[in-house]
């Protein structure tokens, strides 16, 4: 067992060479997500939140600075099977059935699928796709595909979970449901979670802390703590505290 499963970014910068220009996607960003915490990243387009996530996943290399996932380099942590990820777009493989798509991380990590049959069945049940085990993604609706992607992110029992606008493509109603589901799942396994989102309500509802980012150059503007007690029930969306926190985040987004 790894004792510290947090995410740390230390003075991380990432710049991209454009045509004769340099775009500073991330400028000197430092962030520390303690083990078991839930952090939401929110910000306007181009503020570098997706860049940050890609760096933490080891999909991209920082220009400078250090990134640690459970005390390891991102690629190492990934290879050790500590991380799980769900992208904005389900990114399912159209030729794999629901089951096989969920099992993909196991195939990548070289784990025996036979040991996980129960786990996969449980996840399919959890995301409400019972009966669709053998379906191909092309036969599912957008919301169902996204739920497959969530199940896939959870199949390895990740200690660190990255979610890149996982519900961005869903309608508001389904999104609320998924938010509540996600909280339930997270409270069960307490993986360190980093959620990138566009939705202020989603961020406030789910996270312990909301990190508000600003663009040009991409940097952290403000960190808003969310002291709401858990489990947060759907009713919390309508409480004055919730609205006050939303307003705080919105103000931070405007640069106040």
């Amino acid at each position: 067992m790894i004792s510290n499963t947090g995410i740390t970014l230390e003075t991380v910068s990432r710049s991209f060479q454009g045509r004769g220009t340099v775009v500073q996607a991330l400028d000197n960003v430092s962030l520390n997500c303690p083990a078991g915490s839930f952090t939401a990243l929110i910000g306007p387009s181009g503020c570098g939140k997706s860049t940050m996530l890609r760096l933490a996943l080891g999909l991209d290399d920082a220009t400078s600075g250090e990134i640690g996932i459970a005390g390891m380099k991102p690629q190492q942590a990934a290879k050790a099977g500590l991380t799980g990820v769900a992208f904005q777009d389900a990114a399912l493989m159209p030729w794999r059935s629901v089951e096989d798509n969920i099992a993909l991380p196991l195939d990548v990590l070289g784990r025996k699928r036979a040991d996980f049959t129960g786990k996969i069945a449980g996840l399919i049940d959890l995301v409400g796709l019972k009966g669709f085990e053998k379906s191909l993604p092309g036969e599912l609706s957008g919301g169902m595909r996204q739920r497959v992607a969530i199940a896939r992110a959870l199949v390895t029992d990740p200690k660190v979970l990255f979610l890149d606008e996982p519900f961005g493509a869903l309608d508001q109603i389904l999104r609320r449901q998924m938010n509540i589901e996600l909280q339930r799942i997270w409270m069960k396994n307490r993986a360190t979670t980093l959620l990138v989102t566009h939705g202020i309500d989603e961020a406030v509802f789910l996270a312990d802390r909301v990190v508000v980012m600003q663009s040009r150059p991409g940097r952290i503007g403000k960190i808003v703590d969310i002291p709401l007690a858990r489990p947060r029930l759907p009713e919390v969306f309508t409480t004055p505290e919730f609205h006050a926190l939303e307003d705080q985040v919105a103000e931070a987004l405007d640069g106040h």
């Binding site: 996943l57 080891g58 999909l59 690629q75 190492q76 990934a78 290879k79 050790a80 099977g81 991380t83 990820v85 992208f87 777009d89 389900a90 990114a91 399912l92 493989m93 159209p94 030729w95 993909l104 991380p105 195939d107 990548v108 990590l109 191909l136 993604p137 092309g138 595909r145 896939r152 390895t156 990255f162």
Partner: protein, 548 residues
Amino acid sequence: MATETALEAQAGTSGGTPHGTPFGVAKGETGFRHWSALRNAAILLVVWEVLGRFKLVAGGALPAPTDVIIRFWSDRGDYPLHILATFQGASLGFLIGNGLAILAGILFAVSPVAARLGRGLNVAIFALPPIAISPILVLTFSGMTPRVVLAALGCYFVTMSATVTGISQTDRRMLDVVRAYGGTRLALLRLVEIRAALPAILAGLRIAAPAAVLGSILAEFGGGGRFGLGAYLIGSLGRADPARLWGIGLAATAMALIAYGIFALIEARLTRSTRAVTVAATPPGIRSEGSLVSTIAITLASIALPFIVWWLLLKILGTPAMIAKTPAGVFDYLFLAPSATSAQTRLLAALGQTLPMTLIGMAAGLAFAFALALASVVRPGIVRSFMPVALVTQTMPLVALTPLLVLLLGRGPSVILWITISVTFFPAFVTLAQGLGMVSRGALDVVRAYGASPFTQLRLVSIPASLPYLFAAMRLAVPRALLGVMIAEWLATGTGLGNLLNQSRGYLDYGMIWTVAVVSVLISVLFYQIVIVIERHVLRKRGMQPAA
């Protein structure tokens, strides 16, 4: 690599792109379409029968279908052995050529450096007119080998470039998922890329199948072996028996069509489950180039590689230097030997005849293809009734077609033009129709919303948007045009490079055979490169990417 993957467009489909045939046939019309295709075929047959029966075309050069069938029946004892021989050469070449092509495609897709190093070799193989090297192969190898090699060469480029395109167009989101779990390069290939490239690879195999048949027949044509449809055709050429020539030509066409059909079926079966569920947000990445020095070094190495391979092959095979000319041998023959001036004169005279015909034929074929592709946007019905005919002429092995065209058109320059147009037209048309079919609906809707007529839509949206495909079509047309001209010259008109090659074969003038082969490949490569330079310049100015 993007610039070399010319045939993918012809190959039709690719991983992430919205699917659909470029010819926009709605599902509900299928029944009607079958019926009208049958009706058209029936009308064609009746007309043909009447023309043949009353000897209305070129004094009986076009025999009636019934005569062809009767002749076929009386020749039925000959066919099995010939078909079997061609099938053996073609299928062995198909297996070897495609096996190598897929491996090479994977290598090039995985390693940009390998792709740049292999570029010269790939372009040379693509541009190589098979007819030019068939005498060399027949001289250098014995038995079935020339057929297998030519069939394999015919498959290589199509499948290699289809593999590269298929892999490099893999949805990046899927790759990210595997990478996020620490997937190695091998895992990416195994779990995502090869599977994602499968439809493209199969489309490549579909195009490669008739190419293998053509390759085998071309080699049979250059000599070597008693059996094979090519050998049969050559043997029957002098007998003034049009019905038999047509029978052989149709048998070869049927063979190529069946090969095409089998892979088209497999492809249709498999691609159904592979269609992308959503549209990828990120375009495939642009590969960064290294420093200037390494770029120059790699480019030079890539140019040198075909020559090195040529030289090495001869060394390994141990063919006598008299027959097998190394690069140095060809240089010696053309510039240093006592007979060099005579060789140069003959070569230049031949080039003077071949080059203008190539350019004219290519331009005509492209113009025809472009006009028909545009017409097909305005009136999709045109394509529907025309496609089956175009498909048959495309899969009809060129060599089988030539004697028939000679019978119809005589031995003047017009036969060269017709053959050249017929070989350049179809791939260009498919590419252009695909490009026009891929024009985004949204862009068309914008001008439509302002009441634009179909022609205004073409002018403002479709034509500019499909410009990359016009260049892709040109890249495809270059080597095919040269091949068409040379075949026509060899078999029909007795002029130009094709004839020089044939004559040198008769005189056992090995130096000239090699020289013609090398020069025709160089010309083809040169034209191809010119198209690429213009393409890069034009597309960069308009902020567009080359079409695959």
